[in-house]
Symmetry: C2
Subunit: 301 residues, 2 copies
């Protein structure tokens, strides 16, 4: 999985601080997650190919998470896109987008398929043979979802020489990779483990922004490899979290710890602080593997 | 008048080419004209004080002219604005903005007054004792207006020493500045021209984007001091103007010439050309005082 952070600040875009948007590349997919104002320029800046984006996930309808979507949709059209675009987001998003397209008389050449979300439980919203995407209901001022993207199990690695030496017909190699035992040319049952090794462990990535401290997400993201969790505030401003329904860095770390995440990426910073080190320092008192997101940062895992 | 170009390119924002937005400062007003995506960042970049903007004029509902508006409105709110904001734009703009505010549950602390436009004739949309703003109906694919901003006549300059030597009571000075004759302490009528000189000539600025070549605007903008006219294409692509309802640089210059403008500023460039000199060169074959707009350029006139 390759995660490119296009923007990781809260509230409003500034000259050197973009609002939330990120791209997760996994198993041939290029998923765009949130789309703050200016996202299309960030996509150009970081050379992500527009036409490979086929699925866009919008967490909620606060502007710093979606005001760049209509511009991106328009630009796709100007670039003569013809492939379908799937957009997953809260109910209401379709109305916003189609109203603007209608008033501009700029119907797209390509098809937009809206998947409007309204469930308060975690639901499967995308799945193919390689990955799945589930929502993570969050606790914010308006209806908000995070998203967890999980790779499907990889095939087992076949030792072809060993398989041939055991007189297994090539026609069975696919079954072996899928973990099944097979029968060889002599009619003997060959145990799968004799000729295969486990494939790479499937990875998972969870995006959780924006949310107050919310333990109900723990079972949904349990054992996640990489957790991006918002940390709008430092501890000194924890009192603001209740009103604004955001989290501190420590609260993000507590969720990471309780969810047994392997790594925590912090983001959605308030711009009131001079730098970002405070976020890492505070989270690191609770959870060991904390990294800071930053506009333009790329994480390979 | 001071004109700051925040963006002057067509279609989509790029790393080094912003879509249409400009600020006209005149007689204490800070008018924002059009508001492409990223305008709020451009306002920060060029240090224009957000809270001085009280009137926003939107030409039409193509994204490159207004997709930054909802973000700016939201940011005004986050900056705890409390002064009224007047927005002038095509019918439908209010619905777009209020829908997004409603779904975000982010009602503004300040009052937004929408002035929705639908007339096909030039109409007065703003006026105070110092300036007036009229629409300029343009010929584009959707309902579009340019805007002409005119200073009201300045007061005449009073020669106070001369007035006192002619025994005119101070109470009459205001009338003199307004161009009236007065009666002095001796009961004599004093001709205004004896004690005053003309004030500075009032200036006018016309913004015309987006439009096909459209002679019907000439009487509306006749004698304008500075005309900003779109020039999306060079002559080699004139055939695209009919379909897209845009103008070439030469067409812009022809309008400037026929409207007896003093200066022509070109803009709304297609990004298909390597540089901008071609626009100036072609327009200059028809009209003498042609200048190129550019993101960040400031014109004082």
């Amino acid at each position: 999985m390759k995660l490119s952070i296009l923007g990781c600040y809260s509230a409003t875009p500034r000259i050197v601080a973009q609002t939330t948007s990120q791209v997760l590349e996994t198993r041939g997919h290029v998923f765009l997650i949130d789309c703050g104002e200016g996202t299309q320029v960030q996509l150009r800046k970081y050379k992500i190919k527009f036409n490979q984006i086929k699925h866009i996930f919008i967490s909620h309808l606060h502007g710093d998470h979606y005001f760049g979507l209509i511009g991106l949709i328009s630009t796709f059209n100007l670039l003569t896109r013809d492939t379908d675009l799937h957009i997953y987001g809260p109910k209401g998003l379709k109305e916003i987008i189609t109203l603007q397209i209608k008033l501009a008389k700029s119907w797209t050449n390509y098809k937009i398929i809206f998947h409007e979300l309204c469930s308060s439980s975690s639901v499967l919203i995308f799945e193919d043979e390689k990955v799945s995407v589930h929502t993570i209901p969050l606790d914010h001022r308006i209806y908000t979802n995070g998203f967890i993207i999980k790779e499907k199990p990889f095939n087992r690695k076949l030792n072809i020489n060993k398989a041939e030496s055991l007189n297994i017909d090539k026609a069975y190699f696919r079954k072996l990779k899928q973990g099944e035992d097979v029968v060889n040319d002599k009619g003997e049952i060959i145990s799968n483990k004799l000729v295969t090794l486990p494939g790479r462990s499937p990875l998972s990535y969870a995006f959780c922004s924006d949310t107050a401290y919310c333990e109900s997400i723990i079972p949904i993201i349990f054992d996640v490899d990489v957790l991006y969790h918002e940390s709008t505030f430092l501890e000194e401003h924890e009192y603001l979290c209740t009103k604004t329904k955001h989290s501190t860095a420590k609260q993000a770390a507590t969720i990471a710890l309780k969810a047994n995440a392997k790594q925590l990426i912090l983001g959605h910073y308030s711009t009131r602080y001079g730098g970002l080190e405070g976020f890492k320092n505070e989270a690191s008192t609770i959870f060991k593997d904390v990294v800071l997101s930053g506009d333009g940062k790329v994480f390979d895992f």
